[in-house]
Symmetry: C2
Subunit: 192 residues, 2 copies
């Protein structure tokens, strides 16, 4: 019947995501986006939609990519406790080596409180991480690898809760070692 869309939508969203990641939702203009995506605004509006819709796609892309990576990384590890430790350690690595801090956390503090659609996506992402980790914590408790607490739900919340502070800390102090020390202490606490 007629011609097809010329640009790769997935790639375009990924480039938009990079801009939002660096500048935040309100700090990003449509010009920033179309420039980075290499497409005209009319094409953008004809395919994906407006700025808000593009942001939704961006954070979905972000969270989905992260979920896949987490699954891939933890799958081969047999000991639940070792998997939990790996999860903590690779979080520390990402926090102290990526140029921007976590897009999901930035988004939570910038817009999640007033944007229901965004909040749902972020919540789904957090619930995913919770379930992934909670599965490991439960097994570790069963196996007797973890004895510090029998309350897996609380312990899961407790572990995940550290990451946000580490991001904040790294933005302000840019000090890897102090974060590594906190992580070591956390692991030591769990290892009881």
């Amino acid at each position: 019947m007629a011609r097809n869309v010329e640009f790769d939508e997935q790639l375009a969203v990924s480039k938009a995501m990079d801009v939002f990641w660096k500048k935040g939702y309100n700090g990003t203009t449509m010009r920033d986006l179309t420039e980075a995506m290499g497409i005209n605004s009319s094409s953008l509006y004809n395919t994906i939609g407006d700025k808000h819709e593009l942001f939704i796609r961006s954070i979905k892309h972000y969270t989905e990519t992260r979920m896949k990576e987490a699954l891939k990384q933890l799958e081969p590890i047999k000991s639940p406790l070792k998997a939990i430790e790996k999860f903590i350690q690779s979080s520390v690595y990402v926090i102290t080596n990526e140029p921007n801090s976590c897009l999901a956390i930035k988004t939570t503090f910038e817009v999640a409180a007033t944007d229901e659609q965004v909040q749902k996506i972020i919540k789904a992402d957090n619930d995913f991480t919770y379930n992934l980790l909670n599965g490991l914590v439960e097994k570790a408790i069963q196996k007797g690898e973890i004895t510090v607490s029998q309350d897996s739900a609380m312990l899961t919340d407790y572990i995940i809760n550290h990451f946000s502070g580490w991001h904040e800390f790294f933005i302000i102090h840019k000090d890897k070692n102090r974060i590594k020390n906190m992580a070591s202490f956390l692991i030591k606490q769990i290892n009881q």
Copy 2:
């Protein structure tokens, strides 16, 4: 020689702060600000300055107010460990009862990475909290109230680090109990 400024600058900054607190730096317009402050933009530019300067004043006001409150609250408590526990508990109270989450944290994630002036103010605030708490942790270790670790610096970082995550958690889940449980576990961990 001539007339004086008509408006109360402290009060005006405090009102501006409320707007930035709710909407963030980029989400706030000059019209939002002048409306909330009840003054004309020309008066604002003639006294305080532009939007950025007003933001600087706002976060300074925020951090200074918070510092004073923290000092006042902890002063009468004699046991260092009890003071630390009080600090944690009142953080939980603020996090789960204030309408907006911490302005300093929101600002850190929104603009601190790219705005040096802002970053300095936030860092000074964090350093203040660090020093306040570290003094207590050191004393508690000396007195033998804390035995879980002898590394007061790390332990201070570790305790402070929880607050950011609790804020994030409350925005997403609005669940006070899960936060209280984490706080109780943290206190139990320190109490060794």
